[in-house]
């Protein structure tokens, strides 16, 4: 019994259909409590007024946007090294979720920027590197769509993900070098444990972050199942439908 056994698509389908109900339930509960608590149950910030409430969407989405790419990177590596179809399809399934998270972070950030900085958009390093991340997602998804043969598509997108990650990090430094920003720094540093956000804001934020993470997982697992079903149907069709 190793974990790789779930790399078999059919086994994966069976297992995932068992955990999915719980996962979805947990995700929905966490997201709704986090957002409702944040929206109704927290006071306004002295400086930012009611706009702090945007944080419960903005930060979790931004977090998951990065994590989704990271997950795709790992899945791509697994595909390249061990050629387990599930990991390739999981990477494919995660990309649209990642791009939506990126979009949410961008949109909520832009809406937040208008009252706070007096502008929708500024070429701040953090914002800029998010925009670049958005472009990487776009290219990655477009490449998947453009190649017919699924294995070739998995191979090529995996390499793109790898090379893209290197360049994404490079861009991050380049952008920082290029412009000093407005955006505030990380206030929930995971490594040090210290934080600058007051508790009233922090707990609902934490719940919302967990919720977004669970939602991401649920979506990716569900979408991976969809991809597997489509591949399976195509494989069966190909066998029965072949002739001269």
């Amino acid at each position: 019994m190793s974990i790789w056994q779930y790399a078999n698509p059919v086994k994966f389908l069976a297992l995932s259909s068992r955990v999915q109900p719980y996962l979805w339930a947990a995700a929905v509960i966490c997201v709704t409590t986090g957002l409702l608590w944040g929206f109704f149950g927290t006071p306004d910030d002295a400086r930012q007024g009611s706009t702090v409430k945007i944080i419960y969407l903005h930060v979790p989405a931004a977090l998951m946007a990065i994590n989704a790419w990271f997950m795709m990177l790992i899945a791509s590596l697994i595909w390249l090294v061990r050629r387990h179809h599930v990991s390739a399809l999981a990477a494919k399934a995660a990309a649209p979720v990642g791009i939506v998270m990126t979009l949410i972070a961008l949109v909520t950030g832009a809406i937040w920027g208008q009252p706070m900085w007096g502008t929708w958009w500024a070429w701040d390093p953090r914002l800029t590197s998010f925009l670049i991340l958005f472009l990487f997602y776009l290219g990655y998804i477009a490449l998947w769509e453009a190649i017919e043969d699924p294995d070739t598509a998995a191979d090529l997108t995996s390499v793109l993900c790898l090379v893209g990650s290197v360049f994404a990090i490079l861009s991050r430094y380049a952008v920082q070098f290029w412009n000093q920003g407005l955006h505030q720094g990380t206030s929930v540093p995971v490594a040090t444990g210290g934080r600058t956000v007051a508790d009233v804001f922090f707990y609902p934020l934490l719940v919302s972050m967990v919720g977004f993470g669970l939602l991401f997982l649920a979506l990716v697992i569900y979408r991976t199942g969809t991809e597997i079903r489509l591949r399976r149907a195509a494989a069966m069709r190909a066998r029965t439908g072949r002739g001269a």
């Binding site: 832009a110 502008t119 929708w120 958009w121 500024a122 070429w123 800029t128 925009l131 670049i132 472009l135 776009l138 290219g139 477009a142 769509e145 453009a146 190649i147 017919e148 290029w178 412009n179």
Partner: protein, 218 residues
């Protein structure tokens, strides 16, 4: 006729068909501008209408090379020329399909990209209207350029070279209208000129394109 339109649209939406890529290119050009000229908001907002127009023009231009070249390579064009369909009509349809898959999405995306470039608030309407009026001309003129270079392997860049000067009047009036609008002035005059160019080219260019295509296939 409609069969041709449907086929072109369907091909555009299929994998590798290029729908959305013009849009993506537009997005990317706009994003690269601040990297190259620097991030100062006032500088960006003063060049924003121009950059949007230039980006839309380049995006149109780059998607031209799939307008006819693919059909040429696989022999479809030979067969279309001998089919019972006036070539002028076929080319108009192809230009229309090009505009629907390239120009129209650009028009819709322009305001969003305007935000990235700090476009002044009263510029949005003008940019959208001028692009909506101007991009059809870009597609029709582009079809002419594509027909002109159809026999040439990878004529893409050569085509850009031939088409760009033809795009200049459209660009001048379009960008002028958008700039005036963004600066809070009245851009009606250039807008009328732009409309004139668009309707003129739609009415006349297909004949030139068809003539040129017949010569090129020989």
């Amino acid at each position: 006729m409609i069969a041709l339109l449907i086929r072109d649209l369907r091909l555009a939406f299929r994998a590798g068909g290029g729908f959305g890529l013009g849009l993506a290119f537009f997005l990317i050009v706009t994003v690269l501008v601040p990297f190259s000229v620097g991030p100062q908001a006032d500088l960006l907002s003063s060049i924003a209408p121009g950059v949007l127009w230039l980006g839309a023009l380049l995006a149109c231009l780059l998607s031209l090379d799939r307008l006819l070249a693919l059909d040429y390579e696989d022999g479809t064009l030979d067969l279309l020329v001998t089919a019972p369909l006036p070539l002028e009509a076929a080319l108009s349809i192809k230009a229309l399909a090009h505009w629907l898959t390239t120009g129209l999405p650009l028009v819709i995306a322009a305001p969003v990209l305007g935000v990235l470039l700090n476009l002044p608030a009263n510029g949005f309407g003008w940019v959208v209207v001028s692009l909506a009026l101007g991009t059809p001309a870009l597609s029709v003129i582009g079809t002419f350029g594509a027909a002109l270079t159809v026999g040439i392997k990878r004529g893409g860049l050569l085509m850009s070279l031939l088409v760009l000067p033809l795009y200049v009047p459209t660009l001048i009036f379009g960008a002028e209208a958008a700039r005036r609008g963004a600066a809070g002035l009245d851009g009606t005059t250039p807008l009328l000129m732009l409309a004139g160019i668009t309707f003129g080219t739609i009415a006349l260019m297909p004949f030139a394109s068809a003539a040129v295509l017949r010569m090129g296939l020989r």
